[in-house]
Every structure is written in C-alpha cells, then in structure tokens.
C-alpha cells in the first residue's frame, strides 16, 4: 500500500502544471484521497499493536492453562 500511495503521489506531482479548473479540482480531490489513505495507513500501526497485544495476552492465558508449558514460551503477561 505504501508503494501504491508513493506512486500516486508521484503521479500527482507530475500533473502539477497549470491547467483548467476541472483539472485542478481533480488534483485536489486526488490529494484529499491520498491524505485519507495515508491516515488509514497510520491507523494500521494502531491495529497491529492492538492485535499483537491481544495475541500475547491470549498466549499467556494458554500457557497458564497448559499442563506442560513450553520452556521457551514467554509473553509479557507471564
């Protein structure tokens, strides 16, 4: 997705030349879409952290419930 956003941003850059009002409006809309996609990409940081936390949390629960815990299994809740 990062590559795609970068390519789209480059494409906008190349199109930044004087044009008709319609063309300028189209560029503005594309920039707005890019900004929204960048924000969405930023939100993925949070989603990854949340998923990681829930996995570690559940892993600790599984380890605690397990009769013979694996010697290498860890997790910050252990």
């Amino acid at each position: 997705m990062i590559t795609l956003i970068t390519e789209r941003a480059r494409s906008v850059l190349h199109r930044l030349t004087p044009g008709t009002r319609t063309e300028v409006d189209a560029l503005r809309e594309e920039i707005d879409r890019l900004r929204a996609d960048v924000d969405e990409l930023r939100r993925d940081n949070l989603r990854i952290a949340q998923l990681h936390d829930v996995v570690v949390d559940r892993l600790a629960g599984v380890a605690a419930d397990s009769a013979e815990p694996h010697p290498h299994e860890g997790g910050h809740r252990a």
């Binding site: 900004r35 924000d39 930023r42 939100r43 940081n45 949070l46 990854i48 952290a49 949340q50 936390d53």
Partner: protein, 521 residues
C-alpha cells in the same frame, strides 16, 4: 464603567472596552470570582482605534453551566474591570452556580472544561498527586522504562520547584528511544497498562500513547490523577502526543536527573527548557493561565491516527452514571423481550450487553445464556455490579479502543451470541459506532443476532454537539451506516414517540448481515 459595554448571551459575550491588543490576556469574572482566563481577539475593524470590540464564544464546559442570573465582568488579570453587566443567560432566573458538588469554585481549564480551582481544592491533593507520581515512577523504572516529569509538572518544577497553582494532576513521560515506529509505541502503551494494573493501579487509556492513572478515595480524600505520555523520536524530532512534535536533542531529555517537587523526588530531563520551549513556545517561562494548545493539523492527524482517541465524552458519561437514579427507560421492556426471544430462537450461549449503564436493563435479559455486561464509565460498571450481584459478568471495556473491541469480538465469535445495545448507538462517535458494527458482524457471522435500541430524535433541547444528551440517530441514518458495514435492519421491533419531559423517541431493531452474494438473510 458602563454596564451597557458588556453583552452576554447563551453563545458568549461581546465587550466594548478600552484598547486591547490581539492576544492580550483578560479574565471573565462571574459574581466576583475569576472563572476564565483567555486571550482576547479584538475585532479587526477596531484595531488601531482607542477602543476594542472583543467577542468570545463560551468554552463548552462553561456554556453548560451558564443558566441563570449573575454579574459578569471582563478585566485585565487581577486588574481594573473593563466592562461589566448584571445579566440573565438561559431560561432560569436563579443565581448561576459555578461550584462543584463539594462547593469548590470552578474555573475553565485549558481544555475548555470546568474544573475545581487547585488552590481551593483539598490541601492533601497536591501531596497525594506527587505520591502517586513517585509510586508510578518506581513501577515504570522497575519495568525498564525511562521516565521523566513533563508538561505542567515540569513547568511547575522549573518555575518554583512545586506543582503549578492551577494544575490538578501530575504528568509523566516515558521516553522511548529504541524505536521510531508508532506501532511499537502503541504496543508499549498496552503493555504498560497491563503492568500498572498488575501493580494495582486503576489505569485508563485516553489513546495508545496516553495513559491516565487514578487513585480513588485517598483516605476518604480527593481523587488523585497522573497522566503518563509516551514520547519517541523520529529522526531528530521528538514526538510526544498529543501536541509536541519538534526538534529536541536526545541529551536534553535523558538520562534524567533527580529533582524535588514540593519535596518529592522525581526524575526530570537534564535540560528542561528544551522540552518546555518545544511544547509551550518561547514564552513558556511567563505564567499564562489562558494558555491553550494550538496543535498543527499535520501533528493532530499523525497522533490521532497512530494512537486513536478513546475517551471522548467519558467524563460526561461518568457524571451521568454517578448520578444514576432508579429510572428504567420505557423502551427497556421491549428491548429485553426482543433479546430474550432472539437468544431462545438461536439457542444462544452468550448475550453481550454493550453499554450496560447501571445494569438494570441487563438484569431484564438474564436467562440460560451467559451474560456479559460492558461499559466504559467506571461508575456505571460499579452500579451494574451491585445491581446484577454476580448474575452476569460485568467488565469495564471501552469499544472506542480497538484492543478492547478485540476482546468483545473474540467473545462474540466463540459461541452463538446475541449483541444487545440499549440506548447507546446514538451517543457514540462515528469511529466507535463502526467498532460496534464490527462486533455485530462477528456475532452474526457466527450464527448470532443483534438487538439495538436507540434514540431517534433530539430531546426538547435542540441538538447541540457539546451536549450528548441531545444526540440522536434517525432510523434511516442507521440503515445507511449499517449498509456501509455490510449490515441491514432486519426488523423494526418497536418504535415510540417522544413524551415531552419524560421519554425520548426511540426505535428497537434487529440487525442482520447483508449476504456478500447479494442475497439477504
């Protein structure tokens, strides 16, 4: 002074005063007490003239309490009154009361909310706050974190080796210098939440970079708060949500040095002025009770998306829950009946009541299934635990936080579940409502069901963003939002009109999936 020079109404005030410079600090005095310190923005057309026209909109917290009669005045800090008037605002003619439940005078803080003036607070509060901060530092350092005092606590130390006279909490920062990734910082916030809870602290997340620790009823005394912010570097730029994003030398922050704040030893950055300048600007040394953060959009967009905002309206809902009276909404019976019927039809093992409030409606939905009641307002959870007395599991869970949402989703997907949400959907912000829809989808995909009751119209008061009691969700708007989330209204179970002064207009619906093949089921 001529009274006619100050006009006040429900929206704000307009004052015609002697010359005031743009940004000059002024105070609003209500019945002799300074309530709000602000920076004046004189009308452009009066700039350069020997008089100024100053118009200000009430901060949200103050606007909510201005209903009645009082003497208003605008003055320079502790100086001469520039304009004043005796006036009535709103529908009441009773004296305006700007004190909290304990009779302490309230002032507008930097968030535009009303808070008890620190110098009027319980004298034990300052000591309690600093003791809490010291205990937190101990736990965090034992966990291997680099901790320092920050924000108002750092400012107070630098100015007077004391808490600021108008501050009501302590501020700590955990400085992460091992990673530039916001995902790692957010991950650390969740880990620290567990660490601090394990150590016995009451922790909430305002975002995945801002924790708040609260100590309730300190020896029957005041509540003490401590904010913990996570800061990290991206290149040379130090980022400390929610506001700071500027170049700060790493050596100005760590290693920390021990300092004494009101006699309590806490870690401080070795060059505090670098942090303070980056956060508050070059004038940081001059006391400014009217200071407000003006966070650049580029910074706000980064922090809100990297770390979320989880606690919109929490204080409002905690206040509502604290004052909860034995009132069960008219819609409760129809809602509970629909949930029980659906749970029976589906042979559901779980009922999850999302936004249980005081638990009275949850109590009407108990049955052969396991019931899990969740709410993000602590007083609501306490009421629900008392009311349900072990007949249902009650947990403080915040669906605005995607981490808590995952716990609810796992529960809903682990067995046939019915999601119940009574008088909640209409008071959620857009992001949190989408989280709720994700939870519904998970329940439905695993053979479960959904019953939702919500207010469909505003109250007698017109809709006002600052007043969640007026928020509402028309059925057609819900239908549109559901469609975007792959959901649809399956049946309109109950609908009730507004009864002025008593009941809101409500609808109870069941919700189903829109099949991806286009078939409806």
């Amino acid at each position: 002074m001529r009274a006619s020079r100050l006009r006040v109404d429900e929206g704000g005030f307009t004052a015609l005063v002697g010359r005031v410079l743009p940004g000059e600090q002024l105070e609003l005095v209500v019945d002799g007490a300074t309530v709000w310190t602000f920076h004046a923005e004189p009308h452009r057309r009066t700039r350069g003239l020997p008089f100024s026209l100053v118009s200000m909109t009430w901060p949200a917290g103050l606007a909510e309490r201005l209903n009645g009669r009082a003497r208003f005045a605008v003055r320079r800090p502790r100086g001469r009154v520039l304009a004043g008037v005796e006036a009535t605002v709103g529908s009441s003619t009773a004296p305006i009361d700007l004190r909290d439940d304990e009779g302490r005078p309230l002032v507008v803080n930097k968030w535009g909310e009303l808070t008890a003036r620190f110098d009027s607070a319980d004298p034990r509060l300052g000591a309690a706050i600093l003791q809490l901060a010291a205990r937190l530092v101990e736990v965090l350092e034992a966990d291997g974190q680099k901790v320092m005092i920050t924000s108002g606590t750092l400012l107070g130390y630098v100015r007077a080796e004391s808490l600021l006279p108008f501050d009501d909490d302590a501020d700590l920062a955990v400085v992460v210098d091992s990673s530039e990734s916001p995902a790692d910082v957010a991950g650390l916030a969740y880990r620290l939440k567990h660490t601090l809870r394990t150590a016995g602290f009451d922790v909430i997340l305002h975002s995945a970079a801002h924790l708040q620790v609260r100590v309730h009823d300190l020896d029957d005394g005041p509540r003490a708060y401590c904010d913990i912010f996570l800061g990290f570097f991206r290149g040379d730029v130090y980022c400390q949500p929610f506001h700071l994003r500027d170049v700060v030398p790493r050596t100005s922050l760590t290693p920390t040095i021990p300092v004494a704040v009101d006699g309590v030893v806490l870690p401080a950055p070795p060059v505090p002025s670098d942090w303070l300048r980056a956060c508050y600007g070059p004038g940081w040394m001059t006391p400014d009770p009217g200071f407000v953060f003006r966070t650049p959009e580029a910074t706000r967009a980064r922090y809100e998306n990297w770390f979320g905002t989880f606690d919109f309206g929490r204080e409002y809902w905690e206040t509502v829950a604290e004052s909860s009276e034995a009132h069960t909404a008219r819609s409760a019976a129809a809602h509970a009946d629909a949930v029980l019927r659906l749970a029976s039809e589906l042979d559901a093992r779980h009922v999850l009541d999302a936004g249980c409030g005081d638990g009275r409606v949850t109590g009407m939905m108990l049955g052969a299934h396991d019931t899990w009641a969740i709410d993000f307002a602590e007083p609501a959870v306490e009421h629900a635990r008392t009311h349900l007395s072990g007949r249902a599991q009650v947990t403080r869970l915040n669906l605005a936080d995607g981490r808590d949402l995952l716990d609810a989703q796992i529960f809903a997907a682990s067995a046939t579940s019915v999601i119940s949400t009574h008088m909640v959907l209409h008071v959620l912000t857009g992001d949190t409502r989408r989280h709720m829809y994700a939870l519904m989808r998970d329940a439905l995909r695993h053979g479960g069901g959904v019953v939702a009751t919500f207010a469909t119209d505003h109250t007698e008061e017109r809709f006002a963003f600052r007043d969640p009691a007026t928020w509402h969700l028309p059925v057609d708007v819900l239908a549109d939002e559901l469609a975007e989330s792959g959901l649809r209204i399956a049946a309109l179970i109950d609908e009730a009109a507004r009864v002025p002064g008593h009941e809101r207009a409500t609808a109870t619906v069941s919700i189903a999936l829109i099949d991806t093949t286009g078939e409806r089921r």
